[in-house]
């Protein structure tokens, strides 16, 4: 298949996720590039199938059934072959794919000082879309034998070894190489594969490290990620990781040789592809942005703040395989705190364990859905916490900072993310993209990210950011067009004042929302009695939602009721601006930051009910095991 962007009319993209493989068809229509059909099937990278292309083929077959387009070539039996080029109702021009199946790219990283080179190595690996299994450093408070035992236990795909500035002391980084040699870790895939080690440390120690490691490992050297203390240079290490992932690791995973052969475009790690779209969106709009992709096994968080892009992959925080781990990390109490009904924690735990052992099932009863959404809030909260702890300091290639800044970062661990500056949050992944009521997705984002000030909330309509990311590597304009037109679903605009201590029920701010002519021509009027124009007072602890349909805009004027209230312009300052509507309209969140839920169980249940009602979400009658919810539902 030739890859000339101008020749493309029909593109098929798959994302081989840990749980399901999603196939999506993109077509160039008279009005422009559109996403047209989608199919999915269980991922088959694991036993008993152990061939990722079986799941891809099943998902593509579903696209064929839905679209009526023949895509797979009749001789596509073992190898994945396509009818190319597209002609009439058959065939495609290009096939592209992303993958996080089989646990994605899993790496161990090492550096001399935890907060310096080891942290840079961690950022380099995360930036390449890897899950970081462990960070080893000379000052990680482990004894050498403990470090060796730990590395031995890991089965990483790649090891990134860094340490020392160029020309600095060699001893520590060579000692890390000795530790690695002593541990002799085995790769996850490929019994004959020598575990790839990318060395990105002190160039003066490279020869000594190579002597130690070249026999037992697939060793390669790239320029130091910290050539001098005040400069971080992640690009070469990231490029090497991509290269090794594609040429060595992925080709040893079951069926990937066939998947790689099926596309002329390199397969991208899913987080990498999603990150490309998030970064492009922030750059285009000139805003600070957060994006999240919550999957079955992992949750990936992306941020672009003041032009600095960061990505983290939180392994073992997810909605299916990792659901029990969310339970473990968050605690059952934190999950139950989001429920609008009283439930036995043991019963909830049992249900979540059953979800873990049958990961592809979906909630059928409303109460079951609400429990999953409670788990999602905690997974998102924990993943965001992880992201904030790492989205500090430097980013990418050749970014400068002074030694004093470097020390300040180490000392304070200050996050780059200022919630008040975040203009947009994009949610992706099944539990957000496929929430039956889009308003529920908006509430999940509000509860877990706790935006401050005025923020636009979006979801990825059908979870296609990975597909668009890999498409953008061939045709950025097409990916962009589809992203804006078919991918982004505007949930609405959140207005979240930050304030000091206020009494529950006391006024936080006064608001008015008046119609203005919409840029898209949709009349700016409410769709219900609570729609625009609207005016009122937001009280402490309250959530208010005002209908404003997607495409509509309205003029928002907010006047703090107290000097301690800030909406981004400063404490006590009024704000006026045009806001955009969405499925959840305009959301005024008077619950304060950090978000604290009422103490007692009954009060918490009542608060959750109130908030869900404010969002017009359906409430289950009770949490039962017999699924009687359908007859007892009450409209909130």
């Amino acid at each position: 298949m030739a890859v000339k962007p101008e020749d493309l009319r029909v593109v098929l993209a798959t994302d081989c996720g840990s749980t399901t493989t999603k196939a999506i068809l993109f077509e160039k229509k008279p009005e422009g590039w559109r996403q047209t059909f989608r199919g999915e099937a269980p991922t088959t990278v694991e036993a008993p199938f152990e061939d990722v292309t079986i799941g891809a083929r099943n998902a593509i077959t579903e696209v064929e059934e839905l679209s009526g387009r023949r895509i797979l070539s009749p001789d596509s039996t073992d190898a994945l072959k396509f009818i190319t080029p597209a002609g009439g109702k058959d065939g495609i021009d290009l096939y592209v794919s992303t993958s996080s199946a089989g646990g994605g790219l899993q790496m161990a990283v090492a550096g001399v000082v935890r907060s310096m080179t080891a942290e840079s190595a961690e950022r380099a690996a995360l930036g390449a879309g890897a899950i970081v299994m462990d960070v080893l450093s000379v000052d990680d408070r482990r004894k050498p034998h403990e470090r060796i035992a730990r590395i031995r236990h890991l089965r990483p795909d790649i090891v990134l070894l860094s340490g020392g500035v160029d020309g600095g002391t060699r001893e520590h980084v060579v000692e890390l190489a000795e530790t690695l040699l002593a541990a002799d870790p085995k790769p996850r895939f490929g019994r004959t594969l020598r575990l790839p080690v990318v060395y990105a440390g002190n160039k003066d120690a490279a020869a000594a490290v190579e002597v130690l490691l070249k026999e037992r490992f697939g060793f390669q050297t790239v320029p130091n990620i910290r050539p001098v203390l005040e400069r971080e240079q992640l690009g070469p290490a990231r490029a090497a990781i991509h290269e090794v992932f594609l040429t060595h690791v992925m080709s040893h995973a079951p069926g990937y040789d066939k998947l790689i052969a099926a596309s002329p475009v390199p397969i991208l790690a899913t987080p990498h592809a999603v990150g490309m779209m998030a970064e492009a969106a922030a750059r285009r709009r000139g805003i600070d942005l957060l994006a999240v992709d919550i999957g079955g096994a992992t949750t990936d968080v992306f941020s672009v703040c003041k032009g600095v892009f960061n990505r983290t992959v939180s392994a073992n925080l997810g909605m299916s395989y990792s659901v029990s781990n969310v339970l473990l990390e968050a605690g059952i109490g934190n999950i139950c705190r989001w429920l609008p009904f009283a439930a036995d924690p043991d019963e909830i735990q049992g249900r979540l364990r059953n979800k873990m052992i049958r990961p592809t099932t979906i909630p059928q009863a409303l109460a079951d859905l609400i429990v999953e959404q409670a788990v999602a809030r905690e997974a998102l909260r924990l993943a965001f916490q992880h992201h904030r702890s790492l989205a500090v300091g430097l980013k990418g290639i050749q970014q400068q900072r002074t030694i004093s800044e470097s020390f300040r970062q180490t000392a304070t661990g200050e996050s780059l993310i200022k919630m008040m500056n975040i203009g947009m949050i994009i949610g992706s992944g099944g539990v957000l993209s496929h929430a039956p009521d889009r308003k529920a997705a908006a509430l999940m984002l509000l509860d877990s990210f706790e935006p401050e000030g005025i923020t636009e909330l979006y979801v990825d309509s059908i979870f296609m950011m990975p597909h668009l990311g890999v498409l953008s590597s061939v045709n950025a304009d097409a990916a962009q067009e589809i992203f804006e037109r078919d991918c982004l679903v505007h949930l609405g605009t959140s207005v979240c004042p930050f304030y000091g201590r206020l009494k529950p029920g006391s006024p936080v701010l006064k608001y008015t929302l008046d119609p203005v002519a919409s840029s898209t021509g949709v009349p700016a009027r409410g769709t219900s009695s609570t729609g625009v124009p609207a005016r009122g007072t937001l009280l402490c602890g309250e959530l208010v939602r005002i209908e404003l349909p997607p495409g509509a805009t309205a003029k928002l004027a907010v006047e703090p009721a107290h000097r301690s209230v800030d909406l981004g312009r400063g404490f006590g300052k009024s704000v006026e601006r045009v806001v955009r509507g969405g499925h959840a309209g305009v959301m005024l969140d008077g619950r304060g930051r950090p978000l604290a839920l009422p103490g007692g169980a009954a009060a918490r249940v009542a608060a959750n009910k109130r908030w869900m009602e404010a969002f017009g979400l359906e409430l289950p009658g009770d949490f039962t095991t017999e699924g009687t919810e359908n007859t007892e539902n009450s409209k909130g």
Binding site: A47, M356, I362, Q364, A365, D368, L369
Partner: protein
């Protein structure tokens, strides 16, 4: 027709099971193709390279690494005995010598002048693997292991803990709905694979372990009881290496769930027979599930069936695997092609399932598994 999302668990009285018995490193295979094997027959052996231990010569001698130059008394690749001199430096006029001796026997793996550290690899550790099941060797994987084929009953569970064990099947409950309480655990359960019904209590599990039962197969367990048994909560479901006194296999899931009648009846028919069991579970899309294998003595069949994606059709026996019908058995009565709105509000592909009591209910296709024969 449609595709089931969750691969069904196999419950079969007559199955051909191929078990790959593979060494973690290259070694030697001890049996030949066509040879009959018992569970305890050793089929392959290898030597795991010993661990490398770092001896910090410079640090222990209070020297800079470069001061060690010429004073290391062993070479890379050399075998050393415990106590053998590794490095020595003389002080004034040859007096006040400092030296480091080998703390254990092994082979010098490396010496680094930059750090003054020496790596000694300990002697290799022999490992052996057995056949695990009765059957015959159908393939030899040169230097790696063998494939043993067994023919007999094969039952997959949904989740388990604990590794490979063998024992005689003993029914501890008389119906699939019965709870396995301590009173039902026989005094003489040593070496037995106990079969319960819908649930096992924490006390019963403890009694079975104390009585030296090798395994328990049961419908479900309460989450808190599993925690009590393991001493921790399972996070990511990759199991099999737990240090537990007996292997536990759940056939249905967490909570009190009657064992599927077919599974229970099959196990009952196998009472007194020797089973190979393994609780190892790795949950990925249809990955490793715990298993109970009871080989027959008859001749081994020649071919094993390859795994297939589950295909749903009207009449296919299925089991609901999510609330509100969790655990119920029935068959597919209809497969509407169009997506349907379910009580959560989601629009998904569903099927109609005829339950045992004659009711027909609508269930998302993702929430059933095919009962494989």
């Amino acid at each position: 027709m449609g595709t089931a999302y969750t691969p069904g668990l196999k419950v079969s009285a007559e199955a051909t099971v191929d078990k790959v018995r593979r060494l973690p490193v290259k070694g030697s295979v001890l049996v030949k193709a066509g040879e009959a094997v018992q569970p305890s027959t050793l089929v392959a052996r290898a030597e795991l390279p010993g661990d490398v231990e770092i001896v910090r010569l410079a640090e222990r001698m209070s020297l800079d690494p470069d001061e060690l130059q010429g004073n290391v008394k062993v070479a890379v690749g050399q075998t050393v005995e415990k106590g053998q001199l590794l490095a020595q430096v003389s002080g004034f006029f040859g007096m006040f010598r400092t030296q480091v001796n080998a703390p254990f026997a092994g082979k010098v793996e490396y010496y680094t002048e930059v750090t003054g550290n020496l790596g000694i690899r300990k002697p290799p550790v022999p490992i052996e693997i057995n056949a695990y099941v009765s059957g015959s060797v159908i393939a030899v994987l040169e230097g790696e292991g063998v494939v043993v084929r067994a023919r007999g009953a094969f039952i997959q569970g949904i989740f388990g803990v604990g590794g490979e064990r063998q024992g005689e099947i003993l029914m501890a409950c008389s119906s699939p709905a019965e709870v396995l309480t301590p009173e039902k655990v026989p005094q003489d359960c040593a070496g037995k694979v106990l079969v319960g019904g819908s649930l096992i209590s924490s006390a019963a599990l403890a009694k079975a372990a104390a009585g030296k039962a090798v395994a328990v197969v049961v419908g479900g367990i309460q989450n808190q009881d599993l925690h009590a048994y393991l001493g921790y909560d399972v996070g990511v479901a990759i199991t099999g290496d737990e240090n537990v006194p007996l292997t536990l296999i759940l056939t249905e899931g967490f909570g009190r769930i009657p064992m599927a009648e077919r599974t229970f009846n099959l196990l009952r028919s196998l009472q007194g027979k020797c089973a190979s069991v393994n609780g190892a579970t790795q949950i990925r899309a249809g990955a490793v599930r715990p298993e109970i294998i009871v080989p027959h003595s008859e001749a081994v069949a020649q071919s094993a069936s390859a795994p297939q994606a589950g295909v749903l059709a009207v009449g296919t026996p299925i089991r609901a695997i999510r609330d509100p019908y969790f655990g119920q058995l029935g068959e597919v009565s209809d497969l509407p092609p169009e997506p349907v709105r379910i009580p959560t509000g989601a629009v998904v592909r569903v099927l109609r399932m005829k339950l045992g009591d004659g009711r027909v209910v609508e269930i998302p296709r993702a929430n059933v598994e095919i009962i494989e024969r």
